[in-house]
């Protein structure tokens, strides 16, 4: 066997740099932790953010070819956008660890190491179209995430982690089976080659392709919490700490969307009507069922969980539509949603209280927020703004995403989809408004305002301030964001 010589330049190593930075950072952090005991969480947080920022710099600064490392890596437009979103979200969610009260998971260096590894996993998911790498990335991030959820160290956190884990394992099985089917049909595990091979076969046998798609839908559907694989979402959100729940509602999903986009886009464009119908049904079901269930929730966090399912449904609609505009809308929507969601979960984090004073079962029941405007007008107003923003009330952030999404639907003649999205927004407004109603229209149950601020700290307040600013003045960012996103999305051929 002759020796193999590979030109290092052809590997295009800078494409790997972002992940490498973070992985090394994580390793370094663990090593430091071994040496130096009792590192303060602020140090850990900040050093992690620094690594994330370095990573971000490497991502933004990347200007090499899109293919790298034997074509395993694919750094195209959506990969870049998704990475930026992932990194920014990570960087802004992480400082939530600096709450007023101390939570032990945030004191542990392992948490931050896992956090960084998780980001590496997500990044690998989005910068590849190789099903193997995607799988490993997915598992890396998921395993880290399960652990981090459990590290909250509450019975509910464990329960959440186990539920999440078990369903994740089943989803991993589905993923593997799906990959097997595609591999069996095409002899490849790289999406672009799969596409070519399927085209060469003229999409026959259809049932095989459909089966592969179905299992992939099962696997990604779990990640994106599509009905009926969504059942973990509310429980996991409820069990996790608010920062992590908020994080989960944004970052894993964007990674999932990118994979879904890569995979389903080719299928949607293959002209397989079946697939279009199934996706349509899944989208409608996800939006509607989640919305309707959210109506009857008694806990704000669970409500937000269901609402994030429904938002994910909107995003799947964008993938279903599959035009450049809709894919741009997806990223626009998610970026705007990220900030608003950050704000909302930060508010929950701020008002977190040691004991379940308001309800046996729930940490954040609606009644907890009764008459908040009388006790803390600014807090209530800000929370109200976040709620109305999530509801898609103009001119707050999410509205512009929704606007663009509905427009994308209309432009591709998905009129009924547009109407369904609109009607769902109308239903959704009820449960968001419900919180506003509690905060503004009811009488307070407790007169002690300090109960609500036991976890508040300056960093948290700053984060809320920033996200409320972005939420309110989102309109200013829409145009530049739209230009950038359109450029990158269309450059990568979606």
């Amino acid at each position: 066997m002759e020796t193999i010589s590979i030109d290092v330049a052809s590997l295009n190593l800078p494409a790997l740099l972002p992940m490498a930075i973070l992985a090394l950072g994580a390793l370094g952090l663990i090593c430091v932790d071994l040496v130096v005991k009792g590192l303060n969480r602020s140090f850990l947080t900040m050093i992690t953010i620094l690594f994330i920022l370095l990573d971000l710099g490497a991502v933004i600064g990347y200007n090499g070819p899109s293919r790298a490392f034997f074509d395993v890596l694919l750094v195209d437009g959506i990969a870049l956008i998704a990475q930026v979103i992932i990194l920014v979200a990570s960087a802004i969610f992480l400082p939530l660890s600096l709450s007023h009260r101390h939570f032990r998971e945030f004191e542990m260096a392992e948490f931050y190491a896992l956090f960084m590894f998780m980001i590496v996993g997500f990044q690998c998911m989005v910068v590849s179209d190789n099903l193997i790498l995607i799988f490993i990335g997915l598992e890396t991030s998921s395993l880290a995430l399960y652990t981090m959820i459990a590290m909250h160290n509450r019975a509910k956190a464990f329960e959440a982690a186990i539920k999440y884990f078990t369903m994740g394992a089943l989803a991993a099985g589905f993923y593997a089976l799906s990959a097997l089917i595609f591999y069996a049909m095409t002899g490849s595990v790289e999406i672009y080659q799969i596409e070519q091979a399927l085209q060469a076969r003229n999409f026959e046998p259809l049932v095989g392709i459909l089966a592969g798609t179905i299992f992939m839908l099962g696997a990604l559907g779990f990640k994106l919490s599509l009905v009926p694989s969504h059942t973990w979402t509310p429980d996991v959100y409820e069990g996790s700490s608010a920062p992590l729940a908020g994080y989960m509602s944004v970052v894993p999903k964007i990674a999932g969307f990118v994979v879904a986009m890569r995979l389903f886009e080719m299928l949607v464009y293959s002209g397989v009507v079946w697939l279009e119908h199934i996706l349509y049904a899944a989208v409608v079901l996800t939006m509607t069922l989640a919305n309707i269930t959210a109506l009857v929730q008694e806990d704000v966090k669970r409500m937000l969980a269901f609402s994030s399912i429904s938002h994910a449904g909107f995003m799947m609609a964008a993938i279903l539509i599959g035009t450049t505009q809709s894919n741009t809308a997806l990223f626009l929507y998610w970026t705007l949603f990220m900030f608003t969601n950050l704000g909302a979960f930060t508010m929950l984090w701020i008002v977190r209280h040691r004991k379940n004073l308001w309800d046996e079962r729930y940490q954040h029941p609606y009644t907890k927020f009764s008459g908040l405007v009388k006790l803390m007008p600014a807090t209530a107003t800000i929370m109200g703004i976040f709620m109305f923003a999530l509801a898609g009330m103009p001119p707050f952030s999410v509205f512009w995403g929704k606007l663009y999404l509905i427009s994308a639907a209309i432009n591709s003649e998905y009129i009924y989809l547009a109407v369904i999205i609109a009607l769902n927004s109308a239903i959704a407004v009820y449960y968001y408004m419900k919180l506003a109603v509690y905060m503004f229209l009811k009488e307070p149950v407790m007169s002690d305002a300090t109960l609500y601020a036991t976890n508040a700290s300056t960093p948290l307040k700053v984060i809320v301030g920033v996200s409320v600013m972005i939420t309110v003045f989102a309109i200013i960012f829409v145009e530049p964001l739209l230009n950038i996103l359109t450029k990158y999305v269309s450059a990568s051929g979606f």
Partner: protein, 508 residues
Amino acid sequence: MEHILSLLVFFPAVAGLLGFLVAKESIRAYGISVSVIEFCLSLILWIGFDSANAGYQFVEYYAFIPSYGMSYYLGVDGISLFLVILSTFITMIALIGLSIEKDIKNLIISVLFLEMTMVGVFLILDVIWFYAFWELSLVPMLYIIGGWGGERRMYAAIKFFLYTFAGSVLMLVGILYMGFLYYEATGIWSFALPDWYLLQVPFKAQLWLFGAFFLGFAIKVPMFPFHTWLPYAHGQAPTIGSVILAAVLLKMGSYGFVRFSLPLFPDATVYFLIPVAIICIIMVIYAAMIAYAQEDMKQVIAYSSISHMGIVILGTFAMNAEGITGSIFLMLSHGIVSGALFMLVGVIYDRRHTKMIRDFGGLAQVMPNFATVYGIMLMASVGLPLTVGFVGEFLSLVGFYRISWILTLLAGTGIILGAVYMLVLYKKSFFGQVVHEENRSLKDLNAKELSALIPLVLLVAILGIYPKPLLSTIDMSVQKMLVLMDQKAIEPATKELIMKANSIGGTH
């Protein structure tokens, strides 16, 4: 004068924000001052307005999201000018007459935000922004109804909010579809209304779009059978909420018809003319009958609002200058009159904490001034000539007569039924002997209430006697719009109808 429109829109909002810093004791004075300044600004706008120019004036244009055709586009014409003034005026009056003490700071700030959204709706020419203001107006109203309302205020507030929101999201779909059509036709994205005016929409699309917009507007107006939120909202809202709701917010819907449905979809408008007119007739008669059956004074006025809005919409669909001008004038007059009536109910509610008609009787003896003002507003409400109510009603009915005499006759029964329920209400509450001892010691209008009501009374008389400056300004823009509609019409039947509706004589 360059940026007066922006100033008009955002002054109340900025003032509202700053209001957070004002001490609770002087927030009332602050609110009134701000609203007075805003009102003066709107008067300055009127002074600067060139009433010989039918187009948009004081236009401000700033491309906001050029790649998607969104812009910040303000402009005022004869149709919107007076609605803006009405908004600022009613807000001012409502604040002057405000009698609530509880959480007054929040209330006043909400009202100021509400004012921004109202003025914004009437001034904005970019449709997306229009939608934004439209939706945004719900939030402060939700708070006002829910925060200071009666017993079932939550239910009323939520119903109001959800109902109108649900209607308007479908309108949003319509808006975006319209934007898409514009894009398809021109290759450029634009959500600027004047741009849209130039677009001839295919007939089929017109029908759908008309439907989508109709739903949004009809719920806001509110038209039968989408009206059931209104009695609750009015019944539960505090006085200031009812006043603004009836006087201005309902007008957003009818304004929407004039601004959007008619000029954008002339063929669909003509196509749906008779069904819409029939709905209007139902509204007029049905709401009047219900008003007659009410036991709550405020509900009578709430239902009477529905009844009157029926005539407004009927006038709008008359497709001629008389009818449309009349309907816009009727919007103004209904704003003044219903606002005043709700304030009057508020006056008595403040004293007795009941609105039930059976709890009153013989009030004319105890509160003669109150009874007088009430009587004047009542007469304006039933459309007595030389009050403001007559002009618009007369013009609307005149206008629609050209379309169909029988429907006009049926709508005209509204003036009979209006007299019936209003006079019965007046008789039951003001005439007769004082039956309830509590009523014997009621105080007549105090200075604060008088200062809020007298301007309204004066307006009722002045605009009833000399409506010409308003009418001619409105008429100018309306005629321009009619010409536009005629030019845009695709179907020959539409052109024919517009021609017929605007000409004297001939057969019909």
